[in-house]
């Protein structure tokens, strides 16, 4: 009798202890971002954006959201093993984040084995269009979209239109893709490019002096770069030291990182390019209210300047969270099906995932970095919004 009593008590205690825990078992989302290495700032901004989305959403399927963050070190092999850990060990129901096309493509190659939806917020290669039923993009503009935005921007700006461009990219999948996309579009639109085979700099390049000499020797008075965002201010600083920026204007295939821009000081001024977001959108009619609200909340939460990487990571995470809610379960196929056509109306308008190719379409901004006016975020350099492109202008058409 005594034994039965003890047993019953133990079962009751175990149930009392375990049931609420079971009821509140969090939905785990694996977050893959670079937190070390040259793009650590960008990784931190992505992490902040995803974290902010989780805090805003609060629950998924009535359960708390738990973000499990891993550092990819921007290395494909590391990212794949971290993804395996997140899925098989941590039981994450989806993967989000990833900086660099090389890392993204490596992960996409392994997605069948991982068998969870993977939504990138930062991979720009066009190879992601319709790559795999479980692979999605809702984040930074793809290379073709950026190239369209930049070419339209160049054509609309007389001072940029008349220039001859030297194309310099980072030597990996994204850089090559971005270089080819820009050159093809430039050719179609009569923009002169002095090096159609474009220059490919190793990612580890810190000393840009030789490349600057090559640009000077080429006679170009415009530069189109597709360099990892955190590297842009470093390149600009050295180009300024050599006096190159006195004669050249610079168009970038990716938005510079907010913190790096701040650290570069006046050398960071004069970068022209298309991207999803800039905090200056809060001064642009039609976007003011949402952008201002998002900027203020982001700044309050992270004491950091609101930026493109954080904003599009926030929106990407929101699209994923909404898809999980819509799927009504954590089944990977159901989440993937729900992600097709999903949209989120965020700080830069509606971001919609095209069902036929799993990649987002959204409005985007054309910006130029300038010395910032007085602002609540303490930014010294900012991306001034020159124009807003509608999603249909950037394409590609969703079939």
């Amino acid at each position: 009798m005594k034994r039965i009593l003890v047993l019953s008590l133990s079962v009751a205690l175990a149930l009392a202890w375990g049931l609420p825990a079971l009821a509140a078992a969090p939905v785990k989302i694996g977050v893959l971002v670079p937190l070390t290495g040259i793009v650590a700032n960008g990784g931190m901004e992505m992490k902040n954006g995803i974290d902010m989305a989780a805090k805003d959403k609060k629950t998924l399927l009535g359960r708390p959201i738990q973000l499990v963050v891993e550092d990819t070190q921007v290395k494909p092999a590391v990212a794949v093993s971290k993804a395996e850990k997140l899925v098989f060990q941590e039981k994450s129901v989806a993967l989000i984040g990833v900086f660099s096309s090389g890392v993204g493509l490596a992960l996409a190659k392994n997605i069948a084995k991982l068998n969870v939806p993977f939504l990138t917020t930062h991979v720009m290669t066009t190879a992601f269009y319709g790559l795999n039923p479980l692979v999605f993009r809702s984040g930074q503009l793809a290379n073709d979209q950026t190239a369209v935005g930049n070419v339209k921007g160049i054509l609309a700006t007389p001072d940029l239109k008349k220039r001859k461009y030297y194309v310099l990219v980072h030597d990996y999948a994204w850089g090559h893709d971005a270089g080819k996309r820009f050159i093809a579009l430039a050719k179609e639109n009569g923009i002169k490019v002095v090096n159609p085979d474009f220059d490919k700099a190793p990612i580890a390049t810190k000393n840009w002096s030789t490349y600057i000499s090559k640009i000077k020797a080429s006679g170009a008075d415009g530069i189109y770069i597709a360099l990892i965002t955190d590297v842009i201010p470093r390149f600009m600083k050295q180009a300024t030291e050599f006096g190159l920026m006195k004669t050249c204007r610079l168009v970038s295939g990716a938005a510079p990182g907010a913190m790096d821009l701040e650290n570069s000081g006046p050398a960071g001024v004069g970068i022209f390019g298309a991207s999803d977001y800039a905090w200056d959108l809060e001064n642009f009619p039609g976007y003011q209210k949402k952008a201002k609200d998002w900027n203020a909340r982001y700044f309050k939460m992270y004491k950091a300047i609101p930026c493109d990487a954080a904003a599009h990571s926030y929106v990407g995470a929101m699209n994923l969270f909404q898809a999980i809610e819509k799927a009504g379960s954590t089944d990977p196929q159901k989440i993937a099906a729900a992600l097709k056509g999903m949209s989120y109306d965020g700080p830069y308008g509606k971001v919609w995932i095209c069902p036929s190719d799993n990649c987002m379409r959204n409005d985007a901004v054309l910006t130029e970095t300038k010395v910032a006016p007085k602002n609540p975020y303490g930014a010294k350099i900012y991306m001034k919004v020159l124009k807003v492109f509608k999603a249909a202008e950037l394409g590609p058409p969703c079939k």
Binding site: T36, Y211, S213, K216, A217, G219, D230, R234, F242, M259
Partner: protein
């Protein structure tokens, strides 16, 4: 820009790059020559020099004052490393100090990330150094010319130290025949400590010179360490003259290759090293001391 201006640009760029490699390579060789320590933390000390310099400038110190003070602080760190870590290992096989300094490199990297974070830092230069100046038909950054002058000053000071001072003469002698130097009543241990500290000061100097060039970031020491070892191997382990020649050679090969065959630039540098290892295993001057 005409080809003469481009040539001037390439020559000056090569000298700047080679000069940084030179200070690093000579520092490594001085440490190895006297201590038989292959200091794998040398790159981390270079980074430390850049960060100390960045901090000094950020709190308002003049760049030149920071250029003077930062290497001294790195030298002090080097003294602590020598006394606390290297000295107890001195009698053991050099593999112990190799592993020790390899670990130390990660410790210093970690401390840098802890204190300064992951962000890229830009060292603010004095106003006059932010312009370009005409060098023949080319226009070249004043700052890079100042670096060249700085490198020349470091090399001259080093030559004077090694050639004209008692400490320098003792160092050179102890590097070749330590037993004889010891028999002459000279405190070899003190000479070895001085050499280690001098090597660290040189790493800090290179870091402070290169900081504004390449920007300051946590893992900046890793890239330069590899290039410095390439210089040491090509110049011959322990050979100061070889290191000077090799540094300039690597600077020129890398810059020229970057200009003409961009994607093959580093391949060319490593091919050069492989060729030297095959045909001149003791370095280009044949003065290497492999053990």
């Amino acid at each position: 820009m005409g080809w003469i201006a481009t040539t001037v640009d390439i020559i000056l760029n090569s000298l700047v790059l080679g000069g940084i490699f030179l200070i690093m390579g000579v520092g490594l060789n001085i440490i190895y020559g006297l201590n038989r320590v292959m200091n794998l933390a040398h790159g981390a000390l270079y980074a430390l020099g850049a960060y100390f310099g960045y901090t000094l400038v950020a709190v308002g110190a003049n760049y030149f004052l920071a250029l003077l003070l930062a290497p001294i602080v790195v030298g002090a760190v080097g003294l602590i490393i020598e006394r606390v870590l290297i000295s107890p290992m001195r009698k053991r096989h050099m593999i112990y100090t190799l592993i020790l300094t390899y670990g130390l490199m990660f410790v210093i990297d970690g401390l840098i990330k802890l204190f300064w974070g992951q962000e890229t830092r830009f060292i603010q230069l004095p106003e006059f150094m932010q312009h370009t100046v005409s060098v023949g038909p080319a226009s070249y950054p004043v700052f890079r010319l100042v670096i060249l002058i700085g490198i020349a000053a470091v090399v001259t000071a080093l030559m004077l130290l090694l050639g004209r001072t008692r400490l320098g003469i003792n160092m050179r002698a102890a590097s070749s025949i330590p037993e004889m130097v010891s028999a002459c009543g000279i405190n070899v241990r003190r000479v070895q400590i001085s050499a280690f500290v001098l090597g660290c000061i040189l790493a800090g100097t290179a870091g402070m010179l290169a900081g504004p060039l390449f920007t300051v970031f946590a893992l900046m020491g890793h890239d330069i360490l590899i290039s410095s070892f390439v210089v040491v191997v090509i110049g011959g382990l322990g050979s100061l003259r070889g290191a000077v020649l090799a540094a300039l050679l690597v600077g020129f090969v890398q810059t020229l290759a970057e200009f003409f065959v961009t994607e093959m630039a580093m391949v060319m540098v490593y091919m050069l090293m492989a060729l030297v290892l095959v045909f001149k295993p003791l370095g280009i001057l044949g003065e290497g001391k492999f053990e």
